[in-house]
Amino acid sequence: MRIILNLFPLALLVILTACGQANTAEVASAEVEQNTAPAAAPKMASEPMAGLQIGDVAPDFKLEGIDGEMHSLATMMDANGEKPKGYAVTFTCNTCPYAKMYEPRLVALHEKLSKMGYPLIAIQPNDVELKPGDNLEAMKERAADRGFGFAYVIDSDQSVYPQYGASKTPEVYLLDADRVLRYHGAIDDSPQDAEDVTEAYVEMAVAALEKGEDPSPAEVKAIGCGIKAK
């Protein structure tokens, strides 16, 4: 960015000499707009806080689950009753159509990954006054309905998702055994149609960790619904 700004007077000069006289003023002013980017201001305001970057240690939490118990990463076990090699922390909810489309895939993902040592925990981050369909009672029903085999917990004071920097449901943070963030974002590349998946990002990331490698891609934008906060 700085380079462009430094070069800008030069660029103007070149444009002035190169383009037809009549158009230069208009073109130059358009370039100024773009390069100084005043339009960035409203963008910044709406961006979620920075949140976790790849390589950061994710905070643990203590959240109530649909089983009435409090859940933490520190006390989680994998399908073999072992201390996990990693955690698929997934922000999701009952009401977002994308979250719903992913439910069967989340169930299958947990079954597969938990056996490999990477259990999934689902956190419902929405404000339940704004989204009554996401309250704990509704979560219990949905989980029973859909056969969730993973822990489904609620971020009832909306304090956990901002620490992670989550902005959507569904959105995954894959942590290793030391809670270091190794992959962040989408579950796969085809939200609407499981049949059409060509890149199963979370599974690919776990496979990379199993080989002692860094996941690639390490971040893919999660497609979904904005988390609802008051």
Binding site: I3, L7, L10, A11, V14, I15, A18, C19, G20, N23, T24, E26, V27, A28, A30, E31, E33, Q34, A39, P42, K43, S46, E47, P48, P97, S167, K168, A186, D189, S190, P191, Q192, D193, D196, V220, K221, A222, I223, G224, C225, G226
Partner: protein, 176 residues
Amino acid sequence: MRIFLYLLPLLFIACQASTPEATPSAITALLQPNSEGLSYPVYDSFDDVAPLFNQNDDKTYVINFWATWCKPCVEEMPYFEQLAKEAGPDTEVIAVSLDFKKDIETKLKKFVAARPDLPPVIALADSKYNNWIDRVDPEWSGAIPVTMIYRGDKRVFHAEKYNSYAELKSSVDAIR
């Protein structure tokens, strides 16, 4: 010398911008219905609608991404309806629906039929979102609603819901 090499692309863009390559008919053509029984066109690939985002004429393009299932999108739609009604001929308001494939011929059709004041609607069924949302704007996080407003090289990407008509209008006026 090195500096001039850097500037070459810039020069190219700047000069190109001043030539009247505007093809309003491209937009008109894009808005034509192309599916039996639907009053709006349906496109399977972002490539088909890419021209929506790079017109270079004396018009302001206001392109809203929404879906019938998205509550905040539906809540802000009246502002786009009002804008489409009140803005002059140099402003094009277009509502790009990201309704799911299964809903395009059902829910979306019903919604459009019930809302005569809607701006022109395009249904975009390209569900490999990660392949194209960055082409609209790298700041797009992956949720809707979002609105891209541009006029020539001036762009505003609004990554959330508009809360009033005045707020939308000020975004539009900001790049005139």
